[in-house]
């Protein structure tokens, strides 16, 4: 093969790369962005069900007041590991999987910038979670300090699972950082000729900014877990006043990571929604430039608002006010996005296939989560809300009906492109309506019990919360079962059952990923397309 060649290749021309490895090594040794994207998505799906099972234990215990099934220490392990698995195992890898699949297709790149590093990033993840989940079976049990592992719960008062948790987080960090570097460099360096910055699909833009956030804050997480490790095992006292440290310092460093982290889990969903709404409204996205600027603004502001997680720990009043106003400022770019999505639909010729249904549910329900976030941002009001179920309601609205609904919408939207067959619309609509109803039965009452004072992370509660808790537990079980319909729909497509999908799949779809055949060939854009 000559290394120099002209760009005028025929689309169907096959070169020596056009082999498709078979068997298990195809997955173990892969350098193909589509295969690695599939691996990420399947891993994330498995983690969704593991994390969901832990949530079922929580909801079973909370079905009635009093202690029914588990002791409080095990309950704490469940809330902790549920949070860690969902954040680092389900939501983040799902977005990385979607980026792997779609970013090269959307920008006309032959693959990710460094395909072997890409494979390494993925395979570190199952290793990290093997370490984390192994603590469930250890003496003393899994981490029980909450997913935020505040010191001294994670240092002085923890079991030896802390060491395994810390090393697992280090591995997750290595995976995330390498994955993010790969994505950011792919977007910077691998765009097809003519794919200028302001032509990039919004999913690419949001992932570019997400990748920047990941590279900036995952090392800070690595730093803070290292301090937890040395505090517990090497006699340091970063988070111990007796040695001149401060437990509040843990919260500052953790939330300096933690707040950008929550945007890491929502910005790519914004990108997905910004792809789906125009397709099914059959209109270009309203206010593209303002969407880009809004995404960047949210990312910059995310570094300045971490203190709003800590209003009750005893910060100076000036700091509380700063963090309150900075947090409220985030409502402005977020509002720009919501209004832009609504304006995109205005007078569009809308149809309501399942990706659109999930996207519409996202806009409404994510906005509810955003508005309860604004309530939490008000410092004096937060003194009432802090550590209640109102907070749990807030972040489950933004993470489940926000991030997870965004992921599901994206999966239905691109599934025909990946597998070459249409999913069953009836099955998917059933999945949508079951999810929509059950998720609101599950999370909406949490607002009420939270405002009435039910604390989070406690296995027992006062009698007046009993009815709503029973209702929420039923909602949780239904929501979990509804996701089996999702698995069924996806498995059907993976096995090739269903109507053949056209190349464009959706009538209103725009972008390079719809110019290639369905299913997407093993290698695409080996010669860059020219974008006009």
């Amino acid at each position: 093969m000559s290394t120099e060649q002209t760009g005028a290749l025929h689309p169907g021309e096959h070169l020596d790369h056009e082999h498709k490895p078979r068997g298990i090594t195809r997955w173990l040794y892969s350098t193909n962005h589509k295969d690695i994207g599939t691996l990420y998505l399947l891993f994330s799906l498995a983690m969704l069900f593991i994390g969901g099972s832990l949530a079922m234990v929580i909801r079973a215990e909370l079905f009635q007041p009093g202690l029914q099934f588990v002791d409080p220490h095990f309950f704490n392990q469940m809330t902790t590991v549920h949070g860690l698995v969902m954040v680092f195992g389900a939501v983040m890898p799902a977005f990385v999987g979607l980026a792997n699949w779609m970013v090269p297709l959307m920008i006309g790149a032959p693959d990710m910038a460094l395909p072997r590093v890409n494979n390494w990033s993925f395979w570190i993840l199952p290793c990290a979670f093997a370490i984390l989940l192994s603590t469930l079976f250890m003496e003393g049990g899994a981490p029980a300090a909450g997913w935020t592992f505040y010191a001294p719960l994670s240092t002085t008062y923890s079991s030896d699972s802390t060491a395994f948790f810390v090393l697992a987080v280090h591995l997750m960090g290595v995976s995330s950082i390498m994955g993010a570097i790969n994505i950011i460099v792919t977007i910077f360096n691998m765009r097809a000729p003519g794919m200028t910055w302001m032509k990039l699909p919004l999913f690419v833009w949001t992932w570019l900014i997400t990748a920047f956030l990941l590279i900036a804050v995952m090392p800070v997480l690595a730093g803070v877990v290292t301090m937890v490790l040395t505090d517990k095992y090497f006699g340091t006292s970063f988070f111990d006043a007796a040695g001149g440290g401060d437990p509040v310092m843990f919260q500052h460093i953790f939330w300096f990571f933690g707040h950008p982290e929550v945007y890491i889990m929502i910005l790519p969903a914004f990108g997905i929604i910004s792809a789906i709404i125009p397709t099914f409204a059959r209109k270009p996205l309203f206010g593209y430039e303002s969407m880009v600027v809004a995404t960047a603004s949210i990312a910059i502001l995310s570094f300045l608002v971490w203190g709003h997680h800590m209003f009750t720990v005893g910060m100076p009043v000036a700091a509380e006010l700063f963090f309150m106003y900075a947090t409220m400022l985030i409502a402005v770019p977020t509002g720009v996005k919501v209004f832009n999505w609504v304006a995109t639909m205005w007078r569009g010729s809308m149809t309501f296939e399942v990706p659109m249904m999930f996207a519409l549910a996202f806009i409404v329900l994510f906005t509810i989560g955003g508005l309860s976030g604004l309530m939490l941002a008000i410092t004096p009001a937060d003194f009432q809300y802090q550590d209640t179920y109102f907070v749990v309601a807030h972040f489950h609205y933004v993470l489940v009906t926000g991030a997870v609904f965004g992921i599901i919408a994206g999966v239905y939207y691109w599934l025909p492109k990946w597998t070459g067959v249409m999913y069953s619309e009836r099955l998917a609509q059933t999945h949508f309506w079951c999810s929509l109803v059950s998720v609101n039965i599950l999370f909406f009452p949490m607002h009420f019990v939270g405002l009435a004072g039910m604390p989070r992370r406690i296995p027992d509660y006062a009698l007046q919360f009993a009815d709503l808790n029973a209702l929420m537990s039923i909602g949780g079980l239904l929501f979990g079962l509804s996701q089996l319909l999702f698995v069924w729909g996806v498995v059907r497509c993976m096995r090739g059952v269903g109507d053949k999908a056209s190349d464009r799949v959706w009538e209103g779809a725009q972008g390079l990923e719809w110019e290639i055949p369905s299913p997407a060939p093993y290698h695409t854009f080996e010669t860059p397309p020219v974008v006009k």
């Binding site: 072997r116 395979w123 697992a168 950011i184 460099v185 360096n189 090392p219 800070v220 310092m249 100076p316």
Partner: protein, 293 residues
């Protein structure tokens, strides 16, 4: 498109990544077992699992980089791929900057907020009065609220010498860089070698300084927040100097033994050089904020 386009090299399947993932699994699991088993009478196997993982990681680095070098020298890599490498290295160094920022953040928070508050600053008068009445809130914290005592590490002796050594090593590395671009191989070998020697001398002095701290000053990792920040910041920096020196040594061996790199293609050299300069800048901040101020 009228211009010619060199195909972006997408490698075939490779076993090294998953090999490396298993190595990291052993490193992580081994390290965690090790710290939980250390000091207990029954001991444990964590230490062996950890070092087995490190050994596998070294094997992976040799194998993986060997493949990359073979691919590169056989002309498979385009300018575009070269840019990918450069950008990846730059972002990697940015992530390292953020890692150090977490520890510098801890240092600043302790000095500016935590320690004064323990002494009763702000609205914490009762904290100081009731909990730690005898605590003197000054930096460095030579007597912790809990009563652990230590002595400060002066900046004027070894730290100052080490600063000059690292600054000199950045200059020699720059000379080596100019030499490789001019094709002056002899000067390249001498000055790159000199840089590595300076790095090794720096590390030697640091080991001496640590021994001095532990034996003579009673300054230890567990001597309260001053010792904590001192040893974690200088320790992680020392680890990075070690990694940087190994990188430069590998590059030097590749130049001396295999005659790798040319005047216009030497990304491996550059990446190691960037890393070294980064480590140098971190040290300057350390010298100012940990030792002098």
């Amino acid at each position: 498109m009228s211009t010619t386009h060199q195909r972006y090299y997408v490698p075939h399947d490779s076993g090294w990544p998953i090999f490396g993932a298993v190595a990291l699994l052993l490193v992580g699991y081994g390290a965690a077992s090790w710290v939980t088993q250390a000091g207990k009478p029954e001991g444990g196997n964590g230490v062996y699992i950890f070092w087995a993982g490190i050994a596998l990681l070294v094997v992976m680095l040799f194998g993986w980089f060997g493949t990359v070098i073979r691919e590169s020298t056989s002309g498979l890599y385009s300018d575009q791929l070269d840019r990918s490498f450069r950008q990846c290295m730059a972002w990697f160094i940015f992530s390292e900057v953020m890692f150090f920022l977490a520890f510098f953040g801890a240092l600043f928070y302790a000095r500016v907020i935590a320690v004064p508050w323990l002494g009763g600053a702000g609205n914490n008068a009762m904290t100081g009065e009731l909990l730690w009445p005898q605590f003197d809130a000054v930096w460095p914290v030579l007597k912790t609220p809990g009563g652990t005592e230590t002595q400060p590490m002066p900046w004027s002796g070894i730290p100052l010498i080490n600063t000059l050594i690292l600054l000199a090593s950045s200059v020699t590395l720059q000379v080596a860089h100019t030499a490789i671009e001019l094709g002056n191989r002899a000067r390249l070998k001498v000055f790159l070698g000199l840089t590595i020697v300076l790095g090794a001398v720096f590390l030697g002095f640091q080991v001496y300084e640590y021994v001095h701290a532990y034996r003579d000053l009673g300054l230890r990792l567990d001597s309260g927040i001053y010792g904590n920040t001192f040893f974690l910041l200088t320790g992680f920096h020392g680890l990075h100097v070690t990694i940087g020196a190994i990188l430069l040594l590998v590059i030097w061996l590749r130049i001396v033994i295999k005659d790798h790199f040319t005047a216009d293609k030497h990304f491996g050299f550059q990446a190691a050089a960037w890393y070294w300069h980064f480590v140098d800048v971190v040290w300057l901040n350390l010298f100012i904020f940990v030792y002098v101020l």
